[in-house]
Each structure stands twice: as structure tokens, then as C-alpha cells.
């Protein structure tokens, strides 16, 4: 499982970097899907198969399909790709890289100093459901109301 975790983590890192630096939007989307799928594998390795499957179904399967759908409608050709290349200047990297480096230092510090029990705990579908529809029922209802509002708004916009 440790091997699975580190392999998936490396794949996720490489794929995410590829998302940022690739100039073709479709390629970037494919890398983003790979990155999300490797996050799903990480969830699985950590003992949360239900979360892993939801990550694959909702993020990699549904949201990214909508992104790709929009890409198809926009028909972004060579001009966008040239524009992207122009925008990708090395000096733009300085700010984000400094911030990320700070975060990395902090995280390594936490991981080295704190004594955390990193053994994965198995969480099944039943445990999650009992929690969601027990103590967290109100949050589930609120989230569903938010989604319903989105649905009604989309219906209204499409009707015009």
C-alpha cells in the first residue's frame, strides 16, 4: 500500500505540473484527469475506497467531462496555443514558486517534528453513510438545497 501511495503521488505531481505547463487545453485536461485519478488511488491506498470511487465518478468522470464539453464548443485552435506560449514567461513563476516553497518547508517541518500515526484506517461505505445521515444530516440537506438552487437557475437560463 505504501508503494501504491508513493507511485500515485509521483504520478499526481508530474500530471499536475503537466497541466500547468502544457499550452494545448485538451492535453492539459487529459493530464488533469490523470491527476484526479491518481488522487483517487491515493484515497484508496489510505483506506477510503468509497471516497476514491466518488473522486473517480464525480471529479474525473462528471466535472471533467463538462470541462471537455465546453472546450469542444469553444473550438480553441492554434491561435490560443500561441497565446498561451507567449503568456508562459519564466518571471511569472517567481511568485507562485516562492509561496509553494514556503508551504513545502512548513509541511516538512510538521511531518518531521510531529509524531503522527500514519497507519491507514479502513472506512467503509456503511460508516460514511451512518456519519452523513446521522450527525451531519443538516450539512447534507444544506448541500442538496444548494444543488437544487443551481439546478433551478440552470433551467431558468436554458429556457430563455
Amino acid at each position: 500500500m505504501i508503494f501504491l501511495f508513493y507511485t500515485a503521488a509521483i504520478v499526481a505531481l508530474i500530471a499536475t505540473i503537466a497541466v500547468i505547463i502544457s499550452t494545448n487545453v485538451v492535453h492539459a485536461l487529459v493530464y488533469l484527469i490523470i491527476s484526479l485519478l491518481s488522487v483517487a488511488v491515493i484515497f484508496f491506498a489510505l483506506g477510503a475506497p468509497f471516497a476514491a470511487m466518488l473522486e473517480a465518478i464525480v471529479y474525473a468522470g462528471a466535472i471533467m467531462v463538462l470541462f471537455l464539453f465546453v472546450m469542444m464548443m469553444l473550438n480553441l485552435g492554434q491561435t490560443t496555443q500561441d497565446e498561451e506560449k507567449e503568456w508562459m514567461q519564466p518571471r511569472l513563476w517567481i511568485g507562485p514558486v516562492t509561496l509553494v516553497a514556503l508551504l513545502l518547508v512548513q509541511m516538512t517541518n510538521v511531518l518531521l517534528t510531529q509524531d503522527v500515526d500514519l497507519r491507514p484506517i479502513e472506512v467503509g461505505v456503511l460508516e460514511i453513510s451512518v456519519l452523513l445521515f446521522g450527525p451531519w444530516l443538516l450539512a447534507v440537506e444544506l448541500a442538496s438545497m444548494l444543488l437544487l438552487a443551481g439546478l433551478v437557475a440552470a433551467y431558468h437560463l436554458a429556457k430563455k
Binding site: N24, V26, H27, V30, I33, G47, P49, F50, A52, M53, L54, A56, I57, A60, G61, A62, V65, L66, L68, F69, M71, M72, M73, E122, G124, V125
Partner: protein, 320 residues
């Protein structure tokens, strides 16, 4: 975590059988269509034309494998294998018989749904990367169709999951030893069947590749084995949906004792494969907006109602 993996030999045997069956379906489909349309179908190569598949395979492997210069090479090559890989991975959670299967996983149903949703990328990337207006139209239709029908596919399954109390396909089969789920979940079965046809975009829902309107839809620019992968992927999808129908609603390998379990599974699956082919011969293709309206305005409310009623029934049985 219950997560048993079958031996390498059984994995290899299942993989081989599934691919051979999918390839043979090309011949089965053409012969059955011939039978129902009062003609002969392919009957020249070998006994009953059985070797037609071999001839087709030789042809498809030796054809020029051409990548159009105007296509986006990366996604053009990436698209066809996705559908094959995704559907073959789905077969890993199918319980064929007691002790026959690849993975015995507690998230089997969710895994199948995840793989089905990833299968949409094959069609979308294939159409988008071809840089061809017919291919783009085909993959736009495919994307909308597959994303919509995935929703009802998932919801129609939940009734079965609630009755069996598990996402594990093997446990779902075992929960049907007192009676198949087709009886309490008939509505769920009908919705799953329709959604399954739409997911594998077979006729009558082959709108993404409607020949009369958009040449060949998303695989217009494909040739050789890349086209072959889309083609065999479609038949693999038929086998997958048929075996899922058997596992979820028709008791999987369960049946009267005079046949071994695996034979029951094969017989039931063969019945649904034949049904898929008969539907192709019998029903005309709907229009695109008809398909979407039918899905969202009829199947979605019906599947939600089915889920609510199933939940109420379970609570009533438990005496709350």
C-alpha cells in the same frame, strides 16, 4: 478491506474469453440480423461463416493505420485504447460463478459506474482530436448522451443496492437466492436496460455515430486497428451491460441445479446479448432532442420515484 484477487491464470482466462466473445459477436450479430431480416448474413468463410471474424481481423490489422495530418496526434492515439481498457477493467468486478472472477471488491457497483463515466472520454477525445466537423458533432452528441444516461444508470442501480445492502456484486447475487431482483425492481431493470443501451451507444441510441446524418460520427477519421478498438469496444460494452443485467436483476449464476453455475451465467448473458441485437433490428433511431427529453423528463423522475418507493418498502419490511 475485503479485496481478493484471482490467480493470474483465471485473470488471463477471463480476459481472453471476454475479448474472444466480443469479437465473435460481430459474426453473431450479422447472422442474427440476417435471420430476422429474412436473409442469410455472412456464411461463406468456414462452417456457418464462423471464420468471418478471423477474416475481418486479418483485414483490419493489415489496413493502413493512418493518423490525419490535421489531427491532434496525442489525443487521437490516446482515445481508442481508453474504451477498451475501461470496459475490460469493469469486467474485473463481475462475479461469473462462485470462485470465478478477478476481484471480489466491496465497491464493485461504484467501480463499474466510475469506469462507465471514464468511457465517455474515449468518444469525446476521439471526436475532438479528429478536427473534423462530423466527428465533432458526433462526440458532442456522445458526450451529452453518455453524461445524461449515466445519471439514471446510477440511480436505477441504487434500488438493487438498497435491497441487497451491499455494493459488492458477489453479495448482490447471493442476496437473490430467495428471488431475483427483477420482481421487486422491475422499473429499475427497465431504466438500467435503456441507460445501458445509451451508454454503449448501440442502435437505437447510436446517435453519436448515425451514419445517415454525420458519416460515422466520432470515428470518421479512424482506420485500421484504431477503428477496430472502437468497434470491439462497442461489443465489449454489450457483453458488459448484459452481464451486469444478469448479475443485478437475474440472479447471476443462480439457477436450478441441472446446469453448473457458470453455464447459467453464460446462458442468461447470451439471452440479453440476443435482446440487444434484436432491439437493433426492431427499433428505429430517435431524434437527438427526443432522446434527451425522454431521459431527463421521464427516466429521471421515474428512477427517483423507484428509489423512494424501494426505500419505503425496506423500512416497512423492517417494521419502522
Amino acid at each position: 478491506m475485503r479485496f481478493e484477487v484471482g490467480s493470474a491464470l483465471s485473470i488471463g482466462a477471463i480476459l481472453f474469453t471476454v475479448i474472444i466473445v466480443a469479437a465473435m459477436l460481430i459474426w453473431v450479430e450479422r447472422r442474427l440480423l440476417g435471420l430476422w431480416q429474412e436473409r442469410l448474413g455472412p456464411n461463406r468463410v468456414g462452417p456457418f461463416g464462423l471464420l468471418q471474424v478471423v477474416a475481418d481481423m486479418i483485414k483490419i490489422f493489415t489496413k493502413e493505420d493512418w493518423v490525419p495530418p490535421f489531427a491532434d496526434k496525442f489525443s487521437f492515439i490516446l482515445a481508442p485504447p481508453i474504451i477498451m481498457v475501461v470496459i475490460l477493467l469493469s469486467f474485473s468486478v463481475i462475479p461469473f460463478a462462485p470462485g470465478v472472477g478477478v476481484i471480489d471488491s466491496d465497491i464493485g457497483v461504484l467501480f463499474v459506474l466510475a469506469m462507465a463515466s471514464l468511457g465517455a472520454y474515449s468518444v469525446m477525445l476521439g471526436g475532438l482530436s479528429s478536427n473534423n466537423k462530423y466527428a465533432l458533432l458526433g462526440s458532442l452528441r456522445a458526450a451529452a448522451q453518455m453524461v445524461s444516461y449515466e445519471v439514471f444508470m446510477g440511480i436505477s442501480l441504487l434500488g438493487v443496492v438498497a435491497l441487497a445492502g451491499s455494493f459488492n456484486l458477489r453479495e448482490i447475487v447471493l442476496a437473490q437466492s430467495d428471488g431475483w431482483f427483477i420482481i421487486p425492481q422491475f422499473v429499475g431493470f427497465v431504466i438500467f436496460l435503456i441507460a445501458g443501451i445509451a451508454e454503449s451507444h448501440r442502435l437505437p441510441f447510436d446517435i453519436p455515430e448515425a451514419e445517415q446524418e454525420i458519416v460515422a460520427g466520432y470515428h470518421t477519421e479512424y482506420s485500421g486497428m484504431k477503428f477496430g478498438m472502437f468497434f470491439v469496444g462497442e461489443y465489449l460494452g454489450v457483453v458488459l451491460v448484459s452481464s451486469l443485467l444478469v448479475v443485478l436483476f437475474f440472479g447471476g449464476w443462480l439457477g436450478p441445479g441441472f446446469f453448473p453455475p457458470i453455464v447459467w451465467f453464460v446462458l442468461k448473458t447470451a439471452f440479453f446479448i440476443a435482446l440487444f441485437i434484436l432491439l437493433r433490428a426492431a427499433i428505429p433511431r430517435p431524434r437527438y432532442d427526443q432522446l434527451m427529453n425522454y431521459g431527463w423528463l421521464f427516466l429521471l423522475p421515474l428512477s427517483l420515484l423507484n428509489l423512494v418507493l424501494t426505500g419505503a418498502y425496506i423500512l416497512w419490511q423492517e417494521g419502522i
